[in-house]
């Protein structure tokens, strides 16, 4: 139960919590101390070095936090969760649909393509305006626009689906 796989920048780390002040990181024993300063603020000591940690968000498999001001966004799973997610990953490989989402909130001010159009990798599909800058939303791979779910001059939220590309 206290065995975890942490994925950071696509690298996996194996962690075992061995006691109140001992942890094993990829099998190396490390002495630590965790102090809860206040809501969401922690001091983490690892051997003879303190880190100032701010917990931004924690959900089932994702933890977002700052360590000494550097932001981290890691995946964390128990061994069982990790195994299950690997199975799902294999499943997804068969699925060729790519969803393109809004990277930030803004306004769609121009749409250059329509469903059924062929697009090259890097080709501009629409223009998202945010903070007075026009940002071209480009196709992340070549393929065919399956559908466009936004309209010109309509606002979009961050993470909102813009369009999908299927392989051809």
């Amino acid at each position: 139960m206290n065995n975890y796989i942490v994925t950071l920048d696509e690298q996996k780390h194996n962690i075992t919590i061995a006691g109140e002040n001992e942890i094993r990181l990829n099998d190396n024993p490390i002495e630590y101390e965790l102090i809860n300063l206040s809501h969401k603020n922690y001091l983490l000591r690892i051997n003879n070095k303190f880190y100032d940690v701010y917990l931004e968000n924690i959900d089932k498999e994702k933890i977002t936090f700052l360590v000494n001001g550097t932001s981290y966004d890691v995946l964390i799973r128990t061994f069982l969760q990790e195994k299950a997610s690997q199975l799902i990953q294999v499943q997804k490989m068969h699925d060729h649909l790519t969803e393109i989402k809004a990277p930030m909130p803004g306004m769609i001010i121009k749409i250059n393509k329509q469903a059924g159009d062929k697009v090259e990798h890097g080709e501009s599909v629409m223009i998202l305006e945010a903070m007075k800058m026009e940002n071209e939303v480009r196709a992340p791979k070549e393929g065919i626009i399956e559908k466009i779910v936004v309209n010109q001059n309509s606002p979009v939220d961050k993470g909102g689906l813009l369009f999908t590309i299927k392989n051809h």
Partner: protein, 494 residues
């Protein structure tokens, strides 16, 4: 002496001006859009007035509202900051006509320099070298393409009323001309209420060097030396310094003389900046004059000891310049980093959100000009700059080392920032050598982004922290399960 100044701007620069007002005993009156209610300038100002809405045209670019407000609250003067109305001759004229002092140049000077094409013409006449290209705006795609073909690609397409890196596009070849032309005009119209564009020859690998000039209303001029602002991404400066390490005394003499001449050519008063491109032979070309305070003015303040905002206010009051050229000396070195809410690893895409933790650095040689506080929001409506971090050192090395030290102390949660990227720049050998040009980031990009998070120790701490959090969350859930027998399927694999 002004009693009350209305600050027609927001965030960092509004805060900068409010602080100067407080130090001078002048009442500061701020304005804020609905989205800016929690921004720092709103809290710090002596008075803060709501401008309904969020878009610039409803709020910070709403001439009628701002003028009416200035009259209503009996402001003696308006400080426009940078951007927004700062270089808008119509606005300045309206302010002048209302009998309110504009803290900046006359509308006449702004007009002369505001049209980049007219300014190029004026400089040409006064023997200040300009970049080859048009001195009139381009009427059509056809005409543009013709000119571009003549001077040769790559070219720059620029908004005649533009500035600050906005409304500018590099065009590599003719096939990109159409969409770039349309897009630049659209952006220009939105940002500057004027869609005139012109063409300049793209000068390869120049440095962006600029000279801070200052005039009073009695015809006196001084310069405050130069700045090197060549570290740019998306045509916007992100690291600036003063003095420029490549500028020797002889070159300094040449560029500052040209800058003062340029200011005189348009009967300039108040703070202004002559932007130059400088090639490898230290030949320079007039790029444009920014007829306002620059974002990067603090580096100049740190090496001269002059508070430029206070000097602006004093000159607007009709006073003589407080210093003479001979009394000005360069003292040490200063470097500024712009902290943006953006993701350098994803094409510098702006990031929005509520700032949930905000710890600024401090100590010897560190200055922070911030626009936000904890619980402020970075919204999609405005420029995503969070703050400027400026460090002074007895020499360039000390300034850079302090900046590095201070960037490591900065803590910002809630948005993605460019801090790691800035740190990569500050340790890049080309940056350290001083021999970088405006394409530095573009050219070194791969190097700059792979450098990030090379701290194994920090990563280990992160990994350990994540595991400890997950573990304590699991323990809590197990406790809950034990009590409530709630078999939430989210824990299926545990």
């Amino acid at each position: 002496m002004f009693k009350k100044i209305l600050i027609a701007n927001r965030a960092e620069i509004a805060v900068r001006i409010i602080r100067a007002c407080k130090e001078l005993g002048i009442t500061s009156a701020a304005v804020y859009s609905t989205a800016d209610k929690k921004t720092l300038h709103t809290r710090l100002a002596d008075e803060a007035y709501h401008l309904e809405g969020n878009t610039s045209s409803e709020t910070y670019l709403n001439k009628d509202k701002i003028l009416a407000l200035a009259k209503e609250i009996k402001a003696d003067a308006i400080h426009p900051g940078y951007g927004f109305f700062s270089e808008n001759a119509d606005f300045i004229e309206a302010v002048e006509k209302a009998g309110i002092a504009f803290i900046g140049p006359s509308s006449k000077s702004v007009k002369m320099m505001g049209s980049k094409t007219a300014a190029r013409e004026l400089m040409k006449k006064h023997n200040v070298p300009i970049v080859p290209g048009t001195t009139e705006s381009v009427k059509s795609i056809q005409e543009g393409k013709k000119i571009a073909r003549e001077i040769g690609y790559p070219i720059l397409l620029k908004a005649a009323a533009g500035g600050g890196g906005k409304g500018m596009r590099k065009i590599e070849s003719e096939k990109d001309f159409d969409s770039a032309f349309e897009s630049t005009k659209r952006e220009a119209l939105k940002s500057f209420a004027n869609d005139d564009v012109y063409i300049e020859k793209f000068i390869d690998e120049p440095k962006h060097i600029e000279v801070q000039v200052f005039g009073d209303k009695r015809g006196n001029y001084v310069h405050f030396f130069e700045r090197d602002c060549s570290v740019q991404r998306r045509h916007q400066k992100i690291i600036e310094e003063a003095p420029a390490s490549v500028v020797d005394e002889e070159t300094r003499q040449r560029i500052t003389t040209a800058a003062i001449n340029a200011a005189k050519a348009c009967d300039y008063f108040n703070a202004g900046t002559i932007e130059l491109l400088m090639d490898k032979n230290k030949d320079f070309y007039f790029l444009e004059m920014n007829t306002r305070l620059q974002v990067e003015h603090p580096v100049t303040e740190l090496i001269t000891g002059i508070d430029l905002v206070k000097e602006q206010i004093s000159v607007a009051e009709g006073n003589k310049l407080s210093i003479k050229q001979d009394d000005l000396k360069i003292n040490g070195h200063a470097v500024e980093c712009r902290i943006y809410a953006e993701d350098p690893y994803n094409n510098f895409l702006p990031s929005t959100g509520k700032i949930t933790k905000y710890v600024i650095p401090a100590g010897a040689g560190v200055r922070v000009d911030t626009g936000i506080a904890c619980d402020s929001e970075i919204s999609m409506y405005y420029d995503p700059m969070i703050a400027k971090l400026i460090c002074w050192g007895a020499d360039r090395t000390e300034a850079i080392n302090r900046l590095t030290r201070a960037l490591h102390e900065y803590q910002i949660a809630g948005v993605t920032t460019n801090i790691q990227f800035l740190l990569s720049v500050l340790e890049n050998p080309i940056y350290l050598s001083g021999k970088f040009d405006i394409r530095f980031i573009e050219k070194e990009f791969e190097q700059l982004i792979t450098n990030h998070r090379n701290l194994e120790e920090l990563n280990n701490a992160a990994v350990i922290f994540a595991a400890l959090m997950k573990n304590s969350a699991s323990l809590k859930q197990q406790e809950t399960k034990a009590i409530t027998k709630n078999n939430w399927p989210g824990l299926l694999y545990e």
